[in-house]
């Protein structure tokens, strides 16, 4: 009898499988996502700043809040997929005060907006609000994909700003790295007329174009493979829930203002202006070499949207001496919302940030002070992943710059000073650090005054005697 029962059940499952698969697909468009309790703190234009309800008492929380900045072409609920599988939920449990800056949905009236506006107008105001709302004096900022570029822009334009730590996930920075990037080939200036295309748009790049552009990067996997996966896992409710949340995210895009798209293609892709240091915002040069905040640069080994070589440049261009580069065995999206991310990226990120978000972390991890650069790890990962000749050449160059002793003994090197890199950009950066010199002079003067005060007090004491 039990055998017959199981056979009948098996048959029923097989017969109803197509219907269940179809139902899972159709219901995925309304799948409940972003369930972690939050409150609206502030809004500007279509953008909203949210604060997530802390789950730990104030005494157990890190004093430095964390601001999340997602790419401007997708919804940020990738950080908060579903209860039990949410990066934000995890960070709250780890004692972080989490804020999310949601770009909202820009319309045709925002067609003139550029990426510079994102980094120079919106993010600084959001940071200011986070500080005001939390009562903290500093903030850690996490940028993902294009959000990482926006965070970099903000950091470079606000050198003396309140950013304490910077986390960059899959940053499409060095666009001269063409290997493995279909976007770079598609949008090549030899055939892609960005002015003509954006001129024909209704102020924004429609979500359909962005969605299909992303899917075309892996045609079979995205258009067919995703549904075959669902078919195979339809009997596993956990897998189906994950699939539905991801399917909703993929099909719930955000239009990008035509101005931002135009600027991204012209300045960042064609001219590689951020890397070459030619980019200016309101007359201020964007010099990444001036960024000295502790930075965690996370790359995805199997990223087909932002190849590893494009993000590797972060470690080379930033002026910070506390840069940790991690290459994880994941894809562009899977790195944050994949099955392994809960046990891989999230704990690593929380540990790195936790070390640098305490009360004494400023002294321990200040970018301005000598810190052991984790170049050994960077080199290791780069050797594994760098595919193009150019990136290999760059790694060789960095090997020549850094003495091998420091790479082999990072723990002992806390007091060692890492020699400055020999790039011209860095030289310019150091030349422009006028306020630092001023502060050094001020310190000298202060020292002198304290010395004279001490002398005077000694004289007084001797007179009394």
């Amino acid at each position: 009898m039990p055998r017959i029962d199981s056979t009948i059940r098996g048959l029923l499952k097989a017969v109803t499988r197509p219907a269940r698969t179809a139902r899972a697909i159709t219901s995925s468009f309304t799948y409940p996502v972003g369930q972690t309790p939050r409150e609206k703190v502030w809004r500007l234009n279509k953008c909203v700043l949210y604060r997530y309800k802390p789950v730990r008492p104030a005494a157990e929380r890190h004093p430095v809040p964390l601001l999340l900045v997602f790419a401007a072409i997708n919804r940020p609920f990738l950080f908060d997929m579903r209860p039990g599988f949410s990066f934000i939920e995890f960070m709250l449990e780890q004692g972080f005060d989490v804020y999310l800056f949601d770009w909202g949905e820009f319309g045709p009236e925002d067609g003139d907006m550029t990426l510079d506006d994102y980094g120079a107008e919106y993010v600084p105001r959001a940071v200011r609000r986070v500080l005001r709302d939390s009562g903290a004096k500093e903030v850690s900022v996490l940028g993902y994909c294009m959000g990482a570029i926006i965070v970099l822009l903000y950091a470079a334009l606000n050198i003396d700003g309140p950013m304490r730590n910077m986390i960059l996930l899959t940053t499409p920075l060095d666009m001269s790295e063409r290997e493995g990037s279909k976007f770079v080939t598609w949008l090549d200036k030899r055939w892609f007329d960005v002015d003509k295309v954006t001129g024909g748009l209704d102020g924004v790049l429609p979500t359909m174009a962005i969605e299909n552009g992303g899917k075309m990067l892996k045609v079979a996997a995205n258009y067919v493979g995703a549904y075959v996966n669902l078919w195979d896992r339809i009997d596993n409710p956990e897998s189906v829930a994950n699939w539905q949340a991801m399917h909703r995210w993929v099909h719930d895009g955000v239009p990008l203002p035509a101005g931002a798209f135009r600027q991204w293609v012209r300045d960042y892709l064609w001219d590689n202006a951020l890397v070459s240091g030619k980019h200016t915002v309101k007359g201020q040069r964007v010099d990444l070499g001036k960024i000295t905040v502790p930075t965690l640069n996370i790359l995805a080994k199997y990223d087909h949207i932002v190849p590893v070589a494009q993000s590797m440049a972060v470690g080379e261009l930033l002026g910070s001496k506390d840069i940790t580069t991690e290459v994880l065995n994941a894809g562009h999206i899977g790195i944050m919302a994949g099955r392994k991310s809960k046990g891989e990226l999230w704990p690593k990120l929380a540990a790195w940030l936790g070390e640098r978000s305490g009360l004494d972390a400023r002294n321990a991890h200040s970018g301005a002070r000598a810190e052991p650069v984790k170049r050994a790890a960077r080199k290791k990962t780069a050797d594994k992943t760098a595919s193009s000749k150019k990136s290999i050449a760059r790694e060789k160059a960095t090997d020549q710059k850094v003495p091998p002793k420091k790479t082999t003994a990072p723990n002992k090197a806390t007091d060692q000073k890492v020699p400055p890199k020999k790039t011209t950009a860095r030289k310019e950066a150091t030349d422009q650090k006028a306020p630092r010199k001023k502060s050094a002079v001020k310190k000298k003067v202060a020292r002198k005054t304290t010395a004279t005060k001490k002398k005077a007090s000694r004289k007084k004491a001797s007179r009394k005697k």
Partner: protein
Amino acid sequence: MLFDNTSPGAAIRGIADRLLVTAGERIDEIVASEEFSEAVARGMSVAATTAGSVRGMTHVVGDIASEWFNVPTRAQVHELSRRLTHLEMLLDDVDVKTSELVERLGEQDAED
């Protein structure tokens, strides 16, 4: 799984999977080629130009109709939206400055 490993169904599925992988690789190669990129880019330019001119015409008609009914045109609404956003930013700046001032005054009072 629908089929066990020894059934004919599993064999068919295996073939289908391999076909999908191979086809996927070939399509990816084509999509990544310069020829494909050039063709798509040119197609997009043509489509954008056509769509742009059609949209331009509808906007003109819409603007005439808006003026006829004495309601703001699309361009005017957009301009208003931009100005409001700018005003929002200015107000935000003022709000921050005033709260800073209030804090400083509070500190001074406390010192006095």
